[in-house]
Amino acid sequence: MPALRRIAVVLILFGAALPARPVAAIEHVSVLLSESGGAYAEVAEAIHSELKGFAEVSTRLASESPGPSRAPVLAIVAVGTEACEHTARNGVLTNALLCVLVPRTAFERIAAGAGERRRILSAIVLDQPPARQLALIRIAMPERHRVAVLVGEQSMGLAAELSGAASASAMRVVTARVESVPDLGPVLQQTLRQADVLLAVPDSAIYNSQTIHNILRTTFRMRLPMVAFSPAYVRAGALLAVYSTPGQIGAQAGRSIRALLSGHNLPALQFPKAFMVSTNPHVARSLGIALPDENVLASRLHLLEAAR
């Protein structure tokens, strides 16, 4: 039946050429990356798949110059601190600039210096909401409610917020300021003496590949667990971490852009909605902590947040 087959082919081709939505509704969204590949690419991929059929998405490196001028973009998603900063500084015509894969402190610094463009600036930060981190500690180790937090210049702003969240959940946060790296040891020991768990916050002056070994050794020696913000720390010896993957953050960014398309405004700052929990059972055993499985912890945390 060659004729029938030909008709079928024509129909299929025609069908494929039909846009899912009327052509007029297609908007341009530009995704600008700090670096190619890796987590940045994962975010871009998730945005693409969320916006498929809703908007035309183009992706390039933030440092590359844009191609020949096209229709103005509805929104820019800047992936990474560098892309966010670059785009916030260089006025590209757009209605909204959403920064993702940025730490909260970095975004707040960029927003403070953005002047007039602050109006269109928003972010989905990498940091987990303080209440979520504290809730995880409560679920995983109900008997521990004194939380040590070390802050430096980068992370100073987080201390007050953690303390606020703690008082709402009958926990106590012991904050200590680390002025310099040599300071770190004594401050850590002193703070840990008043606490029963260490909550690491993203501050590269305090927590980095140079210091992490000694910090973990000190916590082991004092038989206290560390709760961290990335799975790498859990592999290195932290007890557990709550974090969001680049894919989860990209999907949330895609959904935010869809909300924007349907007329909603973007909140100035969003925390990641989806998250994962990672645990180190060896560390748990050696510290004598009966730790539930990471999937159990994550689903309890989800339930708790849903109930709010």
Partner: protein, 676 residues
């Protein structure tokens, strides 16, 4: 005369090349220093995204892979367990640049970059900082007799290169640092056993307890198999180790470990008359005790004090015959060697951007071997070392590692082993390193003072042969290495790629040479040792790649390309290691309960044993499939392990077996692990 002329011409050209390489190193170092300041700490999301691999042994300062002065491969417990390997040499075969030759059951030769002989002796092997490099005969490590069980190993850090700067002579080509896990980390007890073909039978026991601040661990293993088949080489060993860790207070930790390895295996060949290397039973009893104290003075300052004692005792006896007058000649090689070692180390941070480690080590070795040192009851050697290392973070992108060790053996001059490395983080996740090091391989006591005599009645009667005479004036071998390296950490698949491009120049290589036999001996074959006047030049590159494409997948691959230039003694050293080696390991967890591991090892051709046998290229295939059952907190596991499937091959072939061959048997065994 012609040969002398060509040798000195080569020497000139080699040193000339060395200079040009150093000049290039300086130039590159300067130019990267100039452009490094552009890189700030702006890309803060790295805190969330970066991995934190930590290397402990390369400079004695905990460092990330990117800041390490040298190429390091780390094998962790999870990886080691997943391979199903029963011994350390099998694991080391997966490390690029390493060359492993299985001679027989319980006897493997391991070198980094070849230059092997029957006793490879340029690699240092440490267990929790304790050297298991043997002082006996030509030195080296008897891998089968090392008192450590596979189960207790937490990680193996392998420095691909030289590190006399930290570990003294004999850390000349390759340093294997085995770290056992802290006692009480995994409370509970597990028993395991394996049965398979080739009479394979293994038993493993692991028990751990913790009470408050005190942890105790006991490990035991028994391994038996029939060896390689063509030889009389059934091998059996029993190992028991114990470790206790006690946290005295917030600052002090005390760690004690002890262990014993009792091994028996067949050695020697059914050979010609007068052969002192005839078939014989070997029994080795190696034991150790190790005490370490660590005090943390602050988060970045600590001191460590350690003492250990190693004992190696071996018995092996053979009856040789020298017709017509000496139908039975009793020969034994019984010996005992004892090592006492005291070490101190101080780790601190002199300024905000520098960290330093310095320390001292004192050692005494005593050997009792009437065969090796005729007429001497004991031979002693003492050693003193002082070392220092500085890690200086010049800015956020540049790290300088500089260090040196000054070492002095009794009765000899001092040697200085410096090292300098500059690591430049060109972009986040991409680091280039460039460096130069000087390392030594100290002559063994036998190379200095051997007097190996064979008499018709053991140690009396007619003097039949003097096989070795030491050379008291022998100098240490010196290894000058230049390297350029790259470490890339990739988000894609969570991969880490490490490349090492090197040139290693070995001067004063210690070689055997026939010498005049003392007058009146029946068999006049006598050897002594000398320093080769022609340097050996090793050039090549190797890379390793490790990735975790997903939470249930691990990949490890490596490749080594080695060229050895040793234009003397018939060029036999040039082909002792394969030019190309490729390895790939894939570990996959399928569902909650299934795990598989597949390793492929591809060796190019080589000629082991001073060119006596040509080993054709071969592909080795190892696999493991495991099923976990029982409660998740206390899982049991049953595994099927297949080793040496792939092309049928041999790795070592002595003249006496030329017609018969010495193939590695294909092993298949089942391992069952049960908690109790």
């Amino acid at each position: 005369m012609a040969s002398v002329g060509s040798a000195s011409a080569l020497k000139t050209s080699v040193s000339g090349r060395g200079r040009s390489v150093s000049a290039a190193l300086v130039w590159v170092a300067l130019s990267i220093g100039l452009c490094a300041r552009a890189e700030g700490q702006r890309v803060m999301e790295r805190s969330f995204l970066e991995d934190l691999p930590v290397v402990l042994s390369a400079s004695r300062i905990p460092q990330s892979l990117a800041a390490t002065p040298g190429a390091v491969t780390v094998l962790d417990r999870e990886f080691i367990q997943a391979t199903g390997y029963r011994d350390l040499p099998s694991l080391l075969k997966l490390i690029p640049g390493f060359h492993v030759v299985r001679e027989r059951g319980g006897l493997s030769h391991v070198t980094y970059h070849g230059l092997g002989n029957a006793f490879p002796n340029r690699m240092q092997v440490l267990i929790d900082g304790r050297s298991v490099y043997s002082p006996y005969f030509l030195g080296g490590v008897d891998w089968f007799a090392v008192p450590v069980t596979i189960d207790e190993i937490e990680r193996v850090e392998v420095l691909r290169g030289s590190n006399s700067t930290n570990y003294g002579s004999n850390a000349a080509l390759g340093v294997v640092n085995i770290v056992t896990h802290v006692a009480g980390d995994r409370p509970g007890a597990t028993g395991g056993f394996s049965v398979g073909n080739n009479s394979l039978a293994d038993l493993e026991l692991d028990g751990e307890w913790r009470r408050g601040d005190f942890g105790l661990r006991l490990n035991a293993e028994v391994r038996y198999d029939d060896g390689l088949g063509a030889m009389v080489d059934a091998a059996r060993k029993g190992v028991v180790t114990i470790r206790g860790d006690h946290r005295l207070n917030l600052r002090d930790e005390l760690s004690f470990s002890a262990g014993v390895n009792d091994s028996r295996r067949g050695l020697g060949f059914a050979g010609d008359p007068g052969n002192s290397n005839g078939l014989r039973a070997f029994r080795g009893e190696n034991a150790f005790a190790h005490l370490r104290w660590r005090r943390a003075l602050s988060a970045d300052e600590e001191i460590q004090l350690g003492y250990y004692h190693n004992t190696e005792h071996a018995t092996e006896a053979v009856t040789a015959y020298l017709p017509p007058f000496f139908p039975t000649v009793p020969i034994d090689f019984n010996r005992t060697s004892d090592r006492d070692n005291l070490d101190f180390q101080h780790l601190f941070s002199p300024t905000g951007n520098t960290r330093a480690a310095w320390g001292l080590e004192l050692r005494r070795d005593v050997i009792r071997s009437p065969r090796l040192f005729y007429g001497a009851n004991r031979v002693r050697q003492s050693l003193a070392r002082v070392f220092g290392n500085l890690e200086w973070r010049l800015n956020s992108a540049l790290t300088l590692n500089a260090g040196a060790m000054l070492e002095r053996y009794s009765g000899r001059g001092s040697e200085l082993a410096p090292r300098i490395f500059l690591n430049w983080q060109a972009m986040p996740g991409h680091t280039l390193r460039i460096g130069r090091s000087i390392a030594y391989r100290a002559p063994s006591m036998a190379e200095e003072n051997a007097n190996v005599r064979f008499y018709s009645n053991g140690y009396s009667g007619v003097l039949l042969r003097v096989s070795y005479l030491g050379t008291p004036s022998i100098r240490p071998e010196k290894i000058a290495a230049n390297e350029i390296g790259y470490v890339g950490q990739f988000k894609t698949w969570n991969g880490v790629f490490d490349l090492r491009v090197y040139q290693e120049k070995i001067t004063d290589l210690i070689q055997e040479i026939p010498t005049a036999a003392p007058p009146g001996v029946i068999d006049p074959r006598t050897f002594t040792f000398y320093n080769s006047g022609v340097p050996v030049l090793q050039r090549g590159f190797e890379w390793s790649y490790r990735a975790r494409p997903g939470p249930k997948t691990q990949l490890q691959a490596g490749y080594s390309n080695l060229r050895v230039h040793a234009p003397f003694a018939g060029d036999v050293l040039e082909h002792e290691a394969p030019r190309h080696v490729t390895t790939v390991t894939w570990i996959q967890e399928w569902a909650q309960r299934w795990n598989t591991t597949l390793s492929v090892i591809r060796y190019g051709t080589y000629e082991w044993g001073s060119g006596s046998y040509h080993v054709p290229r071969y592909t080795q295939l190892d696999a493991r499939i495991a099923y976990r059952f029982g409660p998740p907190g206390k899982p049991s596991e049953v595994a099927l392990v297949l080793l040496d499937h792939g092309s049928r091959h041999q790795e070592f072939l002595p003249q006496t077996l030329l017609s018969k061959g010495n193939p590695i048997p294909r092993l298949a065994f089942v391992n069952l692990k049960l908690p109790f």
